[in-house]
Amino acid sequence: MTALLAEDVHKSYGRRHVLRGASFEANAGQLVAILGENGSGKSTLLRILAGTGELDRGRVERSGRIGYCPQEQVLYPYLTIDEHLELFARAYGLSRDVAKKRGDALAARFDFAARRRDVVEELSGGTRQKLNLAIALLHDPAIVLLDEPYAGLDIESYRAFVAWAEDAKRDGKCIVVITHLALDRDRFDVVFNLRDGRIRAGDA
């Protein structure tokens, strides 16, 4: 079942054409990678897929709730991990019990339970990234869009992420990961290359 569809997506910043008709399709239960060089427009594409960025032309369809983890750690500097989870649980419309259960599960999986009462300013880059991820996953979305999710993660956390991705696939989630590293491309069901603002059929 198609979970995410992008057709002929165009995006320009002034005279710079970043996306020139990028199209792709991702299904439920798939782990998809979008590869590309620095500045190739991967993050722009993901923002458009997530609905935070506007496209100039084209069409995007989503068949479920989105969980979006941006590349930058977009967090409140003086709120604790728990306060972030509380605030975003409200945004997602989760009940207190469900939010607590999911927060605990994510804290255990990504190993940040001990730092839950620390404010973001006091956290390491890796722990901030875990929180960044946890916020995107808190509401158990059907489509997960992750922009460079391993940035700053240590090897154990990376393994935890891979294990989570495998479980999520089995649960029928569609996971799209943006990365400029092609080292672990074997883990993905589908790999797209974004070049010159386009994803061609042959690139998959």
Binding site: S12, A50, L75, Y76, L79, E86, R90, A91, I135
Partner: protein
Amino acid sequence: MLAMRERARRVTTAARLLLKDLLRRRIAVLLLFVVPALFDAVVLATTASRSIRVTLGTLADAVEPTGIAAFDRLGSLFLDAGVRTVDERRLSLVFLGTAAVSFLACFLAFNLAHRRREADARLVHAGYRAHEVLLAKLIVLVGLVLLLAIYETAILSPWVAPRQVGLVVAGLFFGGIIYGCLGMLVGALVKQELEGIFLIVLLTNIDAGWLQNPIYYAHSQRQGLIRSLPGYAPVQLAVVGALTGDAPHGTLSRALVWTAVALAAALFAFGARIRPARPERARLRWHYANVLVVAYAIWFGAFELVGRWAATLHTVDLTSAWDRAVPLVPAFVWPYEATYVLPLLSLVVMRDWHRFNVALVAFVIANLTAFVLYVLVPIAYARPELGSSLAERVLAMEYAADFHPGANKLPSMHVAMSWIMVCAMWGQAKNRLVDAGLAILLALITVAPIFVKQHLIIDVVAGVPWGLGSYWVAERAYRRLVAKDATALEGLARVFWFRRFG
């Protein structure tokens, strides 16, 4: 009811956590308590306690001189010029207290908006409504400003002994809230933190920290300019409340107007920053609203230029017997003015934006061809005397803004451009009632210039085919120039050689 309660919970949760996020920054809390006390300490250490005469503009009676010397001299004996003898130290304490609250509120609101705007946008993307986040920010801001105003009044009181405490708190509060909103506006607009801080320091210092000082105001050559600034009403409220038992005139309403303006600007700018991606129609509407502003500015400049030149040439009067027979009906000024609203209306009803592009091309054709005739046949004719009703006063403004002795009349661009706009809008709303309304409005706009004596019958009769012909030519030219599968923005770029959207 349940939805309302849930929304209230969302807003209170956001407000509570945003407040925590702000106040955990130790420097912010330190500033909140230290800066007002520091300002007061500086005044106490440096300013003498002595009597000085100052002008409190808000206490002055506003009267127009009659022109009869004896009356004016007599009047000046009884009228209040706002001059008061006050203690310089007490005055400085209140004035700088207001400046301190304004500056702090501006700084806090900037902090609340700028550093967190990406996180706020993420919150909106996650499910918060943009207005819920804005409301939460506003609650935090209002709460902090109120606390600041009360704190400042409390630390001033031993030295100032305010005569009207309520007015002092109100002045400090309004200073904080107006500058808080301006701080939020700056936080939404600027990219880097440094330029934002520079801007808010500059803004608050020049207005609240300098020009609004009653000592400076008394000798200023531009008191009207100072009165129009955002810091005027808050400082006047606080100073008048602290040092006199008088009631300031119209200051509260001035403070409320500035609050409303600053608040609307801040909410609009910040809301635009954190809103999620807009659907295509809303995006295009916004693009074309910008295009419209630019088009208006260019048209206005060109029309003025040609008109001013044509008015210097030898003019002719083409007034016919029919024109003389038509009475002046001032009420037609309203449909006359409605022509300026038509393009805005098009932003609401338009679906096929290519037609908007065609209308823009038609405007260019209609104007350029008309300009030739304006220069060849500049028309001037006598205008009727006007009364004092609202419609006549609006009409008087139109007459005053027109070219003298006359120009830019044949053909009526007022009529031509309205016909072009309605051609573009026709059928776009997919609603016959809207089309019927447009037809009636167009009919009224077409005859209005004759009844308000802004145009002669011949101008209007020429204006209709001028508009229709221009639209016809523009449509054909557009079809030739723009590919069938091009988007409206690409079409716009193609016809105006405007590369941004190409």
